[in-house]
């Protein structure tokens, strides 16, 4: 189970943040909990241009891909802090991220009330039509006297509070698993293809079973994503340790939603050029997750050249770079692939097919590399 936990304050030091760190640790066997900070977000403003909403997009995507959300709210003036409210406004503005999303509320306050009034208001907000969340009923976690609750290592010192957290979290775990979104998404269903996995598919050049195809894709040292001709994200290979982590919840989504707003125009221009046929391949080299990552977009076409979709082909090529550095290819003929003879071009740039718009191709390729490192880096 994948959960995100929102720290409901922008304060540098926060007991609510300490509580979430404790929950992440304490419930690590039951759930993978990622902690999100509202202080990363710009203050909500309807007039803020899309180009300044990259962090909002990122926040939204993380929540979209989670099975449930834990919110730790402080209490400011008997309500939730503006910084948290602003985050909720972003999540409801032209989006239905929180719709039917299971939510658990917890809160720590300095005084004795343990954020009871803020939680009451937060529940009402989450149930408003624009948010429309599935808030876990009952199971209140109201922690007062914050300064006495945690020891210096961030452990909760009061056994009654530990029990309260455990009971509520167990209820939430059950609640998440009975949630419609979770059931429909059904990660378990997706691990096996729907038709018999022994069924053979006959290709012109031989045959493979569905299971074999699946495992070939998953075993390739490169990860594959496929965006179909309608610009919907329709498949990703289930390779372990992917550079770009994808989620089955994203399958079927318009590909625009999988990119930060700032980057989307560049990605769109690549798809457009593939559809027009002005180019077939765009590549980029990026440092990602501490790896040397080679990212490729290929236009996939039928025998008649009709666009079927785009394949993203991405992998860590650190090993290849090492082989080159070690001189493993020294003395080989330049520009030809001696082993397979697949590429007969003597041209130093065999990737650039001849075409009517060589200059436009060059532009588009440069454009793609402007898709800057920092953007890509944080997308994971």
């Amino acid at each position: 189970m994948k959960l995100v936990a929102i720290v409901g304050t922008n304060a540098d030091f926060s007991y609510n943040r300490i509580l979430l760190q404790y929950m992440k640790w304490h419930f690590r066997m039951a759930a993978d909990i990622e902690i999100l900070e509202v202080k990363q977000l710009p203050p909500f403003n309807e007039d803020l241009p899309d180009s300044e909403q990259t962090e909002v997009w990122r926040f939204n995507t993380k929540i979209n891909n989670a099975d449930g959300v834990i919110i730790a709210t402080p209490e400011y003036d008997h309500s939730i802090p503006a910084a948290l409210k602003s985050g909720l406004e972003w999540l409801s503005f032209n989006r239905d991220t929180m719709k039917e999303k299971p939510v658990m509320i917890v809160g720590v306050s300095y005084g004795t009330q343990g954020t009871s009034r803020a939680q009451q208001q937060l529940r009402q907000m989450l149930l408003s039509p624009d948010l429309n969340s599935d808030v876990l009923p009952g199971n209140e976690v109201l922690i007062g006297n914050a300064a006495k609750v945690f020891d210096k290592n961030g452990f909760v010192t009061d056994i009654n509070i530990v029990h309260n957290l455990e009971t509520s979290f167990t209820a939430f775990n059950k609640f998440v698993k009975s949630n419609m979104r979770y059931l429909e998404r059904g990660d378990d269903n997706m691990t096996e293809p729907h038709i018999s996995s022994d069924a053979k598919i006959q290709f012109r050049t031989g045959s493979l079973s569905i299971k074999e195809i699946q495992q070939i894709f998953n075993t390739l040292p490169f990860e594959i994503d496929f965006i179909d001709a309608n610009d919907e994200f329709s498949y990703f290979s289930d390779k372990p340790n992917r550079e770009h982590v994808r989620h089955t919840a994203e399958i079927g989504e318009p590909v625009q939603q999988c990119h930060p707003p700032k980057v989307w125009p560049i990605v769109k221009s690549i798809f457009d050029s593939f559809k027009l046929g002005t180019q077939d391949h765009v590549e980029r080299c990026l440092p990602l997750n501490g790896h040397k990552v080679w990212i490729n977009y290929f236009a996939v076409r039928d025998e008649n050249g009709k666009y079927l979709g785009t394949m993203e082909f991405t992998g860590n090529v650190g090993h290849l770079v090492t082989l080159v550095k070690e001189g493993k290819f020294d003395g080989f003929p330049e520009g030809a692939d001696a082993t397979t003879g697949a590429s007969k071009h003597d041209d130093a740039e065999p990737e650039q097919p001849a075409g009517p718009a060589m200059n436009a191709q060059a532009d588009a390729t440069t454009g793609a590399s402007e898709h800057s490192d920092e953007d890509e880096d944080k997308t994971e």
Partner: protein, 186 residues
């Protein structure tokens, strides 16, 4: 009365701003000054980062004007059945190092594009203004909601419905008496 009005929206086109503009134009016996919040930074305990503790200048100025005023009117939009973060943030500043709303008579009005006209956010705002850190004297009853705000104003920015104007006048009369009583009591 000398009244400081606060536009609770940070939007360019705001119906709550229009409502307060109408109010300041309509009640000529009162001196009503309209305050904008859109350039006030988000409340943060650690603002400004790494420097000496102090409030943003815009907050200091707003607090000064509130202290010098007889009363405050807040035009409160509704976001997710509650108070917009932009307005909540201002109240947090005004309840942190300084407390200029303490003991101050406050009237809440609100406009929404939906028929319920900010009723739920006004309830939340009352709870917030009642909390000990803010401690305002909120004018009870007299709930002025302007629903379906898109159709409520004519091209001069005047409220079209005379019944609505009448109710607003009634609320205002009550508010003057209430504010007087509060000041006598102090």
């Amino acid at each position: 009365m000398k009244i400081e009005a606060i536009v609770g929206s940070n939007k360019k086109l705001s119906y709550n701003r229009k409502l307060l503009q109408f109010i300041s134009k309509h009640f000529t016996d009162d001196e009503i000054h309209i305050n904008e919040i859109k350039d006030i930074p988000m409340f943060n305990e650690n603002y400004p980062a790494g420097e000496d503790d102090h409030d943003p200048e815009l907050i200091t100025e707003l607090a000064k004007r509130i202290e010098d005023a007889d009363a405050v009117i807040i035009g409160c939009p509704e976001y997710n059945h509650s108070v917009p973060s932009a307005l909540k943030s201002v109240i947090e500043w005004l309840s942190y190092r300084i407390h200029p709303l303490g003991g101050k008579p406050v009237m809440i009005v609100g406009a929404s594009i939906h028929p319920q006209g900010s009723s739920r956010s006004q309830t939340h705002l009352r709870e917030i203004l009642d909390s000990p850190g803010v401690n305002a004297e909120v004018f009870p009853g007299n709930e002025f909601f302007l629903g379906t705000a898109k159709k409520a104003f004519d091209e001069n920015g005047d409220l079209i419905n005379q019944g609505t104007v009448g109710f607003l006048e009634q609320c205002f009369d009550g508010f003057r008496i209430y504010a007087d009583e509060i000041h006598k009591f102090k």
